[in-house]
């Protein structure tokens, strides 16, 4: 059944996107997509996987949609109006010769991560529609009850339908504004996957970025994001199921092939124009991944890259990371001076990595009591159990 599962995972988003384009309604498209997949689960084990599984699913889903529209006149009328409006918005792309499904997932990415939707709804919809996760699966990813997630997804789809968020790829002039929103949604899937110890979610984020890269090969922030995620995910086995600082990880357990692919993509992301924030973060991750050990990491280069990142996206959190790199380059006192200058930042007040970074530097300076106090403060602020476990360990082993 492994191959059938893989087919569904890959086909779900494609099928859904093609059906949204055809019928103009996300709800109807979702319903008949799952019905078609159910039908396949009944028929394929007995009669074998058809030669063109995608086309089989599409034909089945389309037939089910037409049946629904025949039964439901009100829905049919509403969709007819939608179709007329959609035609006003622009021409429908021609169906590809040979009956292959045109890949319209790019439109779906931009609809699911439309800036008019709440940030958390964008992430949920992207997982639901493009990742093909069921609503309870999405709920588990967010650690909320399935009912809460169902309400959230329903609300987001209602806004798409009633405010008429379009199903289209933004023009070249809009892309600089719209693409970062899509990338942010995918990156959140990745980081939340890490926070919740869900490597499958991190891998789903990587898979979605690969699709996006195929569909929009010219946008360098996409390989940048893909590289960043690969270079971080390459260290998954060395984290030993918990959180482990970079300095403590057994580097022989890092995934060399993934690092190689990530490093190659960093070059793509940083070539041919000014760098974007994901490309720069990926370059920093690559320097860590390529260093034989923590101490011999190229800290001057990492500080320089944080300077670039700060110019692109000024934020106290980036300042914090830069300060940690400065501490490695110039010694703990230099890092601590920078951290103390950030003490008034409201964004860092409840941010446990700030307290933990101070604790670490105070410890290295031999100011043990202050370090212990800072670790305790970090422990109070930390949101997840793996984070607390790491901090307790640091507090205990000083």
């Amino acid at each position: 059944m492994e191959s059938v599962e893989a087919v569904f995972r890959e086909e779900h988003g494609r099928l859904l996107a093609a059906l949204v384009r055809r019928f103009g309604d996300l709800d109807l498209a979702e319903e008949v997509t799952s019905e078609a997949i159910e039908a396949a689960l009944t028929h394929w084990p007995a009669s074998g996987v058809p030669p063109k599984p995608g086309a089989w699913l599409m034909t089945t889903a389309r037939r089910k949609a037409v049946d629904r529209l025949r039964r439901d006149r009100v829905l049919a009328t509403r969709l007819a109006v939608l179709q007329v409006e959609a035609d006003r918005a622009g021409p429908v792309p021609p169906v590809e010769p040979g009956g292959e499904l045109p890949d319209e997932r790019l439109q779906l990415f931009f609809t699911c991560a439309h800036p008019a939707l709440a940030a958390e709804d964008r992430i949920a919809l992207t997982l639901r529609c493009l990742g093909g996760l069921t609503t309870p699966e999405v709920a588990r990813a967010f650690l909320v009850p399935a009912e809460t997630m169902a309400k959230r997804i329903t609300r987001a789809k209602k806004k798409i339908r009633e405010a008429r968020i379009p199903f289209r790829v933004p023009g070249a002039d809009e892309l600089p504004e719209r693409l970062p929103v899509v990338l942010q949604a995918i990156y959140s899937i990745f980081t939340e996957g890490y926070a919740a110890q869900r490597p499958d979610l991190a891998e789903e984020a990587i898979r979605l970025t690969r699709i996006l890269y195929r569909l929009l090969p010219g946008e360098r922030e996409i390989p940048g994001l893909l590289a960043l995620m690969l270079l971080v995910h390459a260290r998954r086995d060395a984290r030993e199921g918990g959180l482990l600082l970079l300095a403590e990880q057994d580097r022989s357990r890092w995934d060399r092939r993934m690092i190689e692919e990530g490093s190659g993509l960093v070059v793509v992301a940083l070539t041919g124009g000014p760098p974007g924030p994901y490309g720069v973060q990926a370059a920093i991750a690559a320097l860590h991944d390529e260093a034989p050990d923590f101490a011999s990491t190229d800290w001057p280069q990492i500080v320089a890259l944080y300077d670039v990142l700060l110019a692109l996206t000024p934020s106290p959190v980036v300042e914090l990371n830069r300060a940690a790199a400065v501490a490695m380059r110039d010694g703990p006192q230099a890092g601590l001076d920078l951290l103390d200058r950030l003490a008034g930042e409201p964004l860092l007040r409840g941010h446990h990595p700030y307290a933990a970074a101070r604790a670490d530097l105070l410890d290295r300076l031999g100011r043990r009591d202050e370090a212990a106090a800072a670790y305790r403060q970090a422990l109070e602020l930390a949101g997840t159990e793996p984070e607390r476990a790491l901090l307790r360990r640091r507090l205990g082993t000083r």
């Binding site: 409006e85 918005a89 968020i165 379009p166």
Partner: protein
């Protein structure tokens, strides 16, 4: 599809800065909206000090008070109703409105019954 663009102006006394947009900017925008063939209706509202609020209680008694009830940071200065294909088009027109620079524009789809 019809959308209401609510033009919210920043409260005038905030730092007392003069508006960045001139009446000429507004006239140019109004002309554009009308020439694009998307204009349904639109009005600019008289000064907030002229506003009066009316409420009718459960007992049928009418209460009339001066001004709007809530102290708001942004005040409704005017509106447009436009007819465009989708939300992206509506957001584009909202972004081009001079009111988006001196305040903000809330885009609300008009309910379709």
């Amino acid at each position: 599809m019809k959308y209401l663009l609510l033009i919210n102006a920043d409260a005038v006394d905030e730092a007392g800065k003069p508006p960045a947009c001139t009446p000429a900017d507004w006239m140019a925008y109004d002309k554009e909206v009308k020439e694009a063939g998307i204009f349904v209706s639109g009005e600019s509202l008289a000064d907030l000090v002229t506003a009066t609020t009316v409420r009718v209680g459960a007992d049928g008694k009418r209460t009339v008070t001066d001004g709007p009830f809530a102290e708001t940071r942004e005040i409704l200065g005017g509106f447009y109703v436009i007819d465009v294909p989708d939300l992206d088009a509506a957001l584009d027109w909202a972004a081009r409105c001079p009111g988006a620079i001196d305040g903000s524009i809330t885009v609300r789809p008009v309910a379709d019954f």
